[in-house]
């Protein structure tokens, strides 16, 4: 196939010449165009107001999700910690938004916080009106689990 395209072969020595000459202006132009992009992608976040709250939201969201995944070894406590961390993560994400932080960091923190709350709620809330039953609720849960396992 490459032999069937002789017309391209004479162009090959031309291309390097062309590519050498315009390469210099391109290289000169690159810093002008790319440097601001590089700064926006890497550096501006810490200088934005609310950055710390966004980071706190993300950290709490991660902790909440991790505790939810831990699950069984910690029992109800893991779900409770997930909910608390998730709610705090939502609050911190709200503060970051209020302060004008616009970035994926706060969004990621918010999403993880929501997941932590949802997971925690799934783990800890057994029913809507079981508290009234008091001790019978605790016994009922254990009896229900036992009867299901049998």
């Amino acid at each position: 196939m490459s032999n069937s395209d002789p017309a391209k072969q004479p162009q090959q020595p031309i291309n390097p010449q062309k590519s050498v000459q315009p390469a210099q202006p391109q290289q000169q132009a690159q810093p002008r165009v790319q440097q601001p992009v590089y700064q926006q992608a890497g550096q501006p976040a810490p200088h934005q107001p609310g950055y710390g709250f966004a980071v706190a939201s993300l950290v709490l969201g991660i902790i909440g999700v991790v505790f939810w995944f831990l699950g069984s070894p910690l029992g109800v406590a893991s779900g409770t910690i997930s909910v608390i961390c998730g709610v705090l993560g939502i609050v911190f994400a709200s503060v970051a938004k209020k302060k004008g932080f616009m970035g994926g960091l706060a969004t990621a923190g918010l999403v993880l916080a929501i997941i932590a709350v949802v997971g925690g709620v799934i783990a800890i809330i057994a029913c809507a009106a079981c508290v009234n039953a008091g001790t019978s609720m605790v016994n009922g849960i254990s009896n229900g689990l036992n009867s299901m396992s049998h």
Partner: protein, 283 residues
């Protein structure tokens, strides 16, 4: 009916799963309607989250209020046996009307904090309340809580953690869930019609436009539809431990007050004292 499910070796309460499903369904519903009502998706999400947190706190606090004497009696458990105290009072137990009040307070706080005009979000978000509640009631049915009166040919629970097992009961949870779904559909149609009307007309001072439902009217409509349902529904509830005063349950008294309040609201609205956006719109 099915209080727990096992997934990958872990046991989850079905009520918790349905509560989480209700939360997510409401969130997706609100996000999906943001553009139609001209509101920002981001603002809608934060507002919804604050409403959800406020609602959960309000529902829990009102419930704890109903069991306050017992909780005060069990305060020593906080030191002696905290897991037991936690199981008794903090893992479950919510009163819906407390959630409505708490959610409203959460909405007001969020609107003030983010400098939003709350009334613009009411038509968008109001149907999410019955949607979430309807799904939550299915969770009640799964857990067996909020159960109905004994009746022949009713639902028989075998593994319930709250309802009496082996007794045929009226499936009041499913009935209320169905009613909530109907209210949800009504609210969606009403709010969509309101939006279409606002898009169709540009004369906002027109008398017809002023009589159209808008803003807070949709929340009043929801309360006006739900309160009678709850009032009747309570006669078929079998869990009487929620408190009976003067022959009516706590929720029935609140329903009566809510119906009275909504009636007053719409009378004032009809007389032109309220406009659906007046005063409260500043929130």
């Amino acid at each position: 009916m099915l209080p727990f499910v096992s997934v990958l070796g872990r046991t989850f309460p079905m009520y918790g799963i349905m509560a989480a499903t209700a939360f997510v369904a409401g969130l997706l519903f609100v996000m999906g309607r943001a553009k139609r009502f001209g509101n920002g998706v981001n603002d809608s999400i934060f507002l919804y989250l604050w409403i959800a947190i406020g609602g959960a706190v309000g529902a829990k606090l009102l419930y704890l209020l109903t069991v306050l004497p017992n909780m005060i009696r069990d305060i020593p458990l906080v030191i002696n046996d905290f897991p037991r105290f936690w199981n008794l009072y903090l893992t479950g137990g919510f009163v819906f009307y407390g959630g409505v009040v708490g959610g409203l307070l959460g909405a007001v706080m969020a609107a003030r904090y983010f400098s939003l005009t709350l009334v613009d979000y009411i038509p968008q978000m109001a149907p999410a309340i019955p949607l979430a509640h309807a799904i939550g009631r299915i969770g009640c049915f799964c857990a067996g809580c909020c159960y109905g009166i004994p009746m022949r040919g009713g639902i028989v629970f075998h593994h319930s953690i709250a309802a009496p097992n082996g007794v045929a009961l009226f499936p009041v949870q499913l009935v209320e869930s169905a009613a909530e779904f109907v209210i949800f559909v009504i609210l969606v149609i009403a709010t969509n019609r309101g939006t279409n009307f606002q898009k169709a007309t540009t004369v906002k001072t027109d008398s017809i436009a002023s009589n159209r439902m808008k803003g807070w009217d949709y929340l009043a409509l929801y309360v006006g539809l739900y309160a009678p349902v709850r009032f009747v529904d309570e006669f078929f509830r079998g869990d009487v431990i929620r408190g009976i005063f003067g022959g009516l349950s706590t929720s029935q008294w609140i329903s009566l007050l809510a119906m009275f309040g909504v009636a007053v609201y719409f009378v004032l609205r009809r007389q032109g004292v309220l406009t659906g956006r007046a005063r409260l719109a500043r929130l």
